[in-house]
Symmetry: C2
Subunit: 346 residues, 2 copies
């Protein structure tokens, strides 16, 4: 196991992405995203992605120097075409454009297509909520599907997350959830560790419940959120696909060959409806009200959405970020290939 | 059991609500809502509500003649105060105002407070989707709570539904779901029928799982959507409370004594982002793509969100609506009290 500071990983990742052909400022946006995901504990969306991103750059699935195009625009809306530059750069550009529109007009909605992997979706509503806006993001995945329609056996929907952030006087509240019962990464981790998965996550190719994670990769499917009430997660997943994929023209499910994310971003300035300070008061009072509920046996405290990640980030900022040997040797190998020097960790 | 046509029930309900002190046109909106809910199979939101509405009118919890006020307004947003007239009238007024704003400016957002029971929430996004708009509604319940914060035992959140409708060339797709595992009415029906409820719906007052529906009404709590992943339903419920209750000033959870719904309504014209006909094409193709998945054993077909209700409505329009004796005798008694003649069913 290796332990590095966020600052060290940010510099190294920026160098690596720049060496893949990116402008320095774009490389910084992508690297910052990966390191923030790693800090928050979402290691599957952290620097482990660098090798994959480079492979995709070589294959032309991502074009590190492509220019983002604003295809349609109104005072409150915009359609952006990422032309397959980095998804993080496209999505952050959309958030910035949305904030300027919402500052002027109170609300804004943005649609994104031809967008490479955007990474951890919660980052985008968080960025807007840190500037005082309520932000909702529906993010479809197209080209790769793991979730079957409710009652079906063949995967035709991605894990299609929804992420919503609400400003507070501290760090924003953040709900960042897949509409599948869990993210696919959790099944993969169990498979790699040779462990069973809980009942209720996966159906095998025949549509029967299974606790063997390998079944997902042999024609099986991931279940939608909700257990017996999985029609609810299924319904939400369809909404995400249509808002993210159909409005933008990115495509839905596996109806397109192109792999990527289609996004629909909505921003709301609370000042349209109330005094923003009173809104923050309400959020604070409501949070305290929820926290003060009597606890179930064995539960130490009630958490609010986003707090587990905030705590992991605080810990990792203090104590550094552990990177497993496999991931680290991949990064070192990539650096060799790209001619980037891996300096001594600070 | 009694069987009546929708037309008969609509006329009778309109007469009854008018006799409670309503303007005829408002009475018609509320009656239409109740009968449509009944047609769709949501009997708990149908004419069984008439007696409760009258009791609340007598207690002053609803003011049938109050005027709706537009408190704040911009070209794309509005805050409405219902002053506790019928919730259906307030919410339909907001939808109409929103549509006119979205027609002009592409998107619109509306916030509603001092809003009496709005009934079946899905009706409002449906009304906008029938006119070509994507519509999202977050509807909190305040004053009455059934759901405990994740890890807690005391109810501090209502069942807080989300309803989203997408236009199609036929009837809109409609996701209309509580963020609790099920609606409270399902537990009440089991209790009244003396039946056990499935594991995973309710915790007793001590926070232990229970299959006895009565436990919910003796200090227990309804679980959030998601089963083991109930933190997801809990997170969504908080979002609904803050969007519906905090933005509008209606209030969140049981932090207010006033019973009602706080709404946040968002409308989007697909034409902001794409050719609306191409959007409808995509929705159609995607629907067919989902339907055509191979089926699980025992499943006859894959349904899209909203289809079960559409089918129930078509059946009940053909064959009439069954009303159980208990509900019907309440209605007849109410008619006597209000001096409304119950004509022979047509």
């Amino acid at each position: 196991m290796n332990n590095y500071t966020a600052k060290f990983l940010l510099e190294l990742s920026t160098d690596l992405i720049e060496a893949m052909g990116s402008r320095r400022e774009d490389a910084h946006i992508v690297a910052h995203h990966l390191v923030e995901a790693q800090l928050a504990g979402h290691d599957s969306h952290g620097i482990v992605r660098l090798a994959q991103y480079y492979a995709h750059a070589c294959e032309g699935k991502v074009d590190p120097r492509a220019e983002i195009e604003v295809v349609r625009e109104s005072p409150t809306t915009a359609l952006l075409d990422g032309h397959y530059t980095w998804g993080q750069v496209t999505a952050m550009r959309a958030v910035e454009l949305g904030i300027s529109k919402a500052q002027e007009n109170g609300i804004a909605a943005l649609s994104l297509r031809n967008c490479y992997h955007v990474g951890r979706v919660g980052v985008y509503p968080l960025a807007a909520a840190e500037r005082g806006f309520i932000a909702q993001v529906h993010c479809n995945g197209h080209g790769v599907c793991r979730v079957a329609p409710w009652g079906g056996t063949e995967p035709r929907l991605a894990t299609n997350p929804v992420a919503i952030a609400i400003p507070t006087r501290g760090e924003p509240l953040l709900v960042d959830i897949t509409t599948s019962v869990v993210a696919e990464g959790k099944v993969r981790i169990s498979k790699n560790a040779g462990k069973e998965i809980p009942d209720g996550w996966v159906l095998d190719a025949g549509g029967k419940p299974t606790t063997n994670p390998a079944d997902l990769y042999e024609g099986g499917s991931l279940l939608p959120l909700g257990g017996r009430e999985g029609h609810k997660g299924y319904g939400l997943s369809i909404i995400v696909d249509l808002l993210g994929g159909a409005l933008s023209g990115a495509g839905c499910g596996k109806m397109t060959e192109k792999v990527g994310n289609g996004l629909f971003i909505q921003l709301t300035d609370p000042a349209c409806f109330c005094d923003p300070e009173e809104f923050l008061d309400q959020v604070e009072l409501f949070s305290e009200y929820l926290r003060s509920s009597p606890l179930k046996e064995g539960v130490e405290e009630i958490l609010l959405p986003g707090e587990p990640e905030q705590r992991t980030a605080a810990l990792r900022r203090r104590e550094g970020i552990d990177i497993d040997d496999g991931t680290w040797s991949q990064v070192v190998e990539l650096a060799g290939e790209l001619g980037v020097e891996v300096k001594e960790a600070g």
